[in-house]
Amino acid sequence: MTTSTVVACLLILLPAAGAFLAAGVSWQTTSTGAPEQSPTSAQKAREQAANRAAFLSSVIATGLAAACAVALAAIHDRAQGNADVASHVLATIPTGAQPIHLSLLPDSYAATLALLVTGVALLVQLYARAYLPLHAREHGWPVRYRSFAAIVGLFTSAMLLLVLAGDVIVLFVGWEVMGLCSYLLIGYDWQHQPARAAALKAFLVTRVGDVALLVGLIMLGAQAGGFDLPTISQTLRSPAGHTVVVTVAGLLVLLGIAGKSAQVPLHLWLPDAMAGPTPVSALIHAATMVAAGVFLGVRLQMVFSASGVVMVTAAVIAALTMLGAALAALVQTDLKRVLAYSTISQLGFMLGAVAVEAPQAALYHLTSHGAFKALLFLTAGAVILAAGTGQVGLIAARLRLHRQAVGDQSHTTAWLQKLSTGRGFFVVPVAWVVGLASLAGVPPLAGFFSKDGVLEAALEAWNGRPSLASAGAQGSQVDSLAVAGQVVLVAGLATVIVTAAYVTRVGLLVLAGPRPAAQREAGEDQLSVQEVEQGESEHLTDLSAATSSPVTGQEPTLQASTDTPSLPIPSVGARALGPGQLPALMATALVVLLVPTALLGLAMVGVEALHTSPAHMAMIGAITLALGAAGALAVWVRWRTTGLACSDQSLTHRRLTTWVRSGFGLDAVVEMVVLAPARALAAAIDRTERAGTDRAGSGVAALVGRLGSWTQRAHSGNAQLSLSLLAAAALALAVWAVIP
């Protein structure tokens, strides 16, 4: 065993050990006490101690894993050029056909991803310790921190298993366990109906992709004669590997990637998955797990290269996803849903990079997106807690109102300045602006360089860069690469405009509100608490009628305000976070994430593998900047003149907008084409089964009864049914067998 293998084993096992400890604490200290019984102080102290134990075990374990990831990266840094790391077989599972090797492939790709995963996981563990009690208080639910810490630990371990696996079946184990953790965490608020529905939907939609992936992997394994990644890549690299089987397998793998990475047509689950707590959205549904599909694409890059059909299909899927999701993000009314659609769109960029044979560009964008999207989600978590709502149109007004409620009557221009004076809270607006700027691609932030890397690769593919599969030297492969490059580049540039537009929209809405301060009706800031709550409850009634927002349970907030109508301050203060109250753990996570978001781009700008031609780099950079500026400007002008439409009422009057906002109505299509027929079929089968078992049961009973009475007569009354049947049959058979 080499050092890197040992480090890789530790990486996988450490978070699992932490999760095991936290789960043990959770199991030991679980209580069934009804919520109405107020806990005694001794119980509270025990609860606190248990939470602390779970926190320490998971944070220490994740921290050690992060240290291991750093060590792994250092090993690779020292051994540069030694790119082809052999996979290390730890155990073998004989199957009777191709064996499954429990092997690890701790190469530089894996090291990069391990750094991202452990880093974000550690920050999310820290953040969640402070966030979850506030989240629970906001909704009036009991805190269940320990199980959360355990599941996040299990998730981290599964993701690292996937990243480090050298065998596709082992990779698939990590893939599915991650899916389980995602399901459990989306359904973390299982008392809450939308959370239950979203969890179920997420698991089943991804399960469709997963079984397709499993079949695809079985086909690849059979083709290559083994399941380990080097063997599969080797087989596909040879011209003999380019067959129909590989094309079909590649399409199935692509479907699996689409399921996990929320690409068209299996993207449906991700917006709903925002029903999970915000730290979960940051870790699993933005930074790491959803990127696992792209990582699989990078690992199986040769599958895309070996078949032009797969390559072009991937490019088309990526193009549809990046542009469609960006458009959907433009008209969302829920903050987390905006970010969710933006994640889907950015994952489209990564898949596009895989489709144009630029695995390094895909990984680079994956990493930078992981950093800035985690930052955005964690910031959004704090904003939503402070505002008590996730509705983009209300956040700014609520934050202003909040400031008044706590007694600050000075008319400063923006809550931004006020928040800056609070302890720790100055981080929030800064993080929000930097994160959004990175998403929009403002230089010199990470998002600018990584997105341009993808577009450069697409441009070069269009210009006729030789395919990775050039060993076969087939003209068609080169052609399909050019087609893929064309598709990705055009869609990518269009997406840049839309991205800048929705980033500007959501940035303005959160920081300033739907209209600039000058245009706000006079006295809006002095609106009484009751009036705003009133308007909001109307708004919420509309919301509950609309199907599209299962996120951030609104009922408890309303409940809180109706419970205490006479006290304006508690009704606003029912939200969990006031100015100057940002817990240190949450602030730490934000500050730490700001660093890579700001600096990762500069660190990578000189890497040659990402930028082959300085001219292309400059050209793409100039074009994306111009397009982005145009998109942002359009939104800003609209904000200055008419104000931004941001509530359901102002958006629903146009059918097109509604259609886009609901994710292009795909849910309804799935309901009609898949779910309704399946339900009808299940009902029909259930009916026939019940009738069938009933009839068959009585039929057999009647038959046996008749036979019984018949044999009874024949044998003067005392023959047992079974015995006589047996005797008769045996006799007949013996006669037949003896007669030659």
Binding site: G96, Q191, V215, E689
Partner: protein, 540 residues
């Protein structure tokens, strides 16, 4: 492996003490059953202040489990002449195929009896129930250990009668409201009789088939028959086909293979918890074991011809059962139906006639025993608390009410849907691998295209399986944990405590086994996959 088989052909008599291990494993439960069932009640009453009959049964079962584990590891096969004129012998033998199943049987029986110590049957008479459990164990162990076709049949029948009593006497009537609003009542007596009628018809056909094989071949010794088939001088193809039609139907009823499963939902639902566990976890395996032990190695030529049809029925069962599960209104009935789907995977694996498919079938067999046993135990625990297993009447939000029970139930559901990392996954993976490349040896190539269609259908079944199990989790485990009108009123509230230590003692071994086999399937595959190769020697 092969050498032990060839050296033990035919009745060989008793040579060494190590041959007695397995015989003891078979005799102990039989004697225990005799002790519990035949002794007069007064005899027990004299002792009952100090020794409970169920405790005695647990003691016997513990010793049996230990002897079984030792016997499968160390014991040597034993074969004695029984009816020499017809070539019928009596023997015990444990190999890679039967060993895991024998240990599973002994372990599940032990868990059932331990369960019975604290969780007394509603219908009373725990002594008789414990005796019947031991009798069932005798039958099932006899089936798995048998070396002779007739012995296989006899023990097949031995397990049947006590199960009738178990379901009819200790079972509960099933009342359920169908999704259409109809009220259906199946009495336990009717369910039990239906089960026995089905199985007796099946085993009668099987007996005819076994006699056909034995009398034509002149011996009933399975190892001998296997070797002859492997060497290519087995029975003629037409005899094989006739025998397989008869034996296969009998086994198919037991497995059960769709559409011969009509007895299963009612029997599993009506049975008491321990009865459901024994039925699902072990009883069904006698059917697939028969296919692996008799149909594949002894009737290989017929099996190659029948395999495509058998596989078709198996995948039909997988999908139909999963769809039916989506509409079940009773938890026990849903899990019972689920068994049809899971056993469908086992049969599909066997039908591929490949080493990997057969290995998958054996893994899925064991995994289903562990996981479905756990599921039935957990539903039993719910039933002990809420006196119902109807989804509509069970309270929601088990995570909040009884967190440990809720977590275990969710765990079992995920194990059952084949989550990688838990035992259920590997059998399904290997089966699918086999279906992608079905046997293509000699003249009888299985139709590859057809099996690819089967593969696609089976995979749809995997999605549907996840759907119905998650529906169950959503309805029972998740949800608001207060405000149920029926269970929150003080008048109806019975004992609804959290998982007791005793229950955990019974459930935890199954959960741990599901996890260990999921993380390290090589514990079984090392043993099983060479043996799968051996079973297929006749398929050429």
């Amino acid at each position: 492996m092969t050498t032990t088989v060839t050296s033990q052909l035919g009745p060989s008599g008793l040579h060494s003490a190590s041959q007695l291990w397995l015989l003891a494993a078979l005799a102990l439960p039989a004697l225990g059953a005799l002790l519990l069932l035949v002794t007069p009640a007064g005899w027990w009453q004299r002792w009952s202040s100090r020794v409970q009959p169920v405790t005695v049964a647990v003691g016997i079962s513990t010793v049996t489990l230990a002897v079984t584990v030792l016997g499968t590891a160390l014991g040597r096969p034993l074969s004695l002449s029984w009816v020499p004129s017809l070539g019928i012998s009596f023997g015990v033998r444990s190999d890679a195929l039967s060993g895991p199943l024998v240990v599973l049987t002994a372990a599940i029986t032990w868990l059932c009896l331990v369960h019975l110590v604290r969780v007394r049957p509603v219908a009373g008479r725990p002594r008789a129930l414990a005796g019947l459990i031991l009798l069932v164990q005798t039958g099932l162990m006899g089936v798995f250990l048998a070396t002779d076709l007739m012995q296989f049949f006899v023990f097949f029948e031995v397990a049947l009668v006590p199960l009738w009593f178990m379901v009819a006497v200790w079972g509960s009537d099933v009342e359920e409201t169908t999704p259409d609003g109809h009220q259906l009542i199946t009495t336990a007596h009717r369910a039990a009789t239906q089960f026995v009628c089905y199985t007796v018809v099946g085993s009668t056909l099987m007996l005819v088939g076994l006699l056909l094989v034995g009398l034509r071949a002149g011996t009933f010794d399975m190892a001998l028959l296997t070797q002859r088939a492997a060497n290519g001088w087995g029975l003629s193809t037409s005899t094989q086909l006739a025998a397989l039609a008869l034996i296969g139907t009998g086994l198919a009823i037991k497995v059960p293979i769709w559409p011969l499963h009509a007895w299963l939902p009612a029997a599993h639902t009506a049975a008491p918890t321990v009865g459901s566990v024994l039925l699902a976890a072990v009883m069904l395996k006698t059917g697939t074991y028969g296919l692996l032990r008799i149909a594949v190695p002894i009737l290989p030529e017929a099996m190659v011809r029948v395999a495509p049809y058998l596989a078709g029925l198996a995948v039909a069962g997988i999908v139909i059962a999963a769809l039916a599960c989506l509409r079940q209104t009773d938890l026990k009935r849903m899990i019972a139906y689920g068994s049809v789907g899971h056993m469908g995977f086992v049969v599909l694996g066997i039908s591929t006639l490949t080493p990997v498919g057969l290995t998958g079938a054996m893994l899925a067999n064991i995994a289903h025993g562990i996981i479905t046993g756990l599921l039935f135990f957990l539903v039993g625990a719910l039933k002990d608390r809420y006196h119902t297993s109807a989804l509509a009447d069970l309270p929601r939000g088990l995570y909040g009410r009884l967190p440990r029970l809720g977590v275990l139930l969710a765990f079992a559901a995920f194990a059952s849907l084949g989550l990688p990392g838990l035992a259920g996954f590997w059998g399904e993976l290997f089966t699918l691998m086999g279906a992608y490349h079905p046997a293509s040896v000699g003249s009888h190539t299985l139709p590859q295209g057809l099996f690819h269609v089967y593969l696609g259908v089976a995979v749809v079944g995997l999605v549907l399986t996840a759907a119905y199990l998650l529906r169950m989790v959503r309805q029972v485990v998740q949800g608001p944990s207060s405000g149920h009108p029926r269970h929150d009123s003080a008048s109806t509230a019975g004992w609804v405590g959290e998982l007791s230590g005793h229950e955990l003692l019974v459930f935890a071994p199954l959960a741990v086994a599901a996890l260990v086999l999921g993380l390290a399937p090589q514990l079984l595959t090392w043993l099983v996959s060479p043996w799968a190769q051996h079973l297929l020697e006749g398929v050429r």
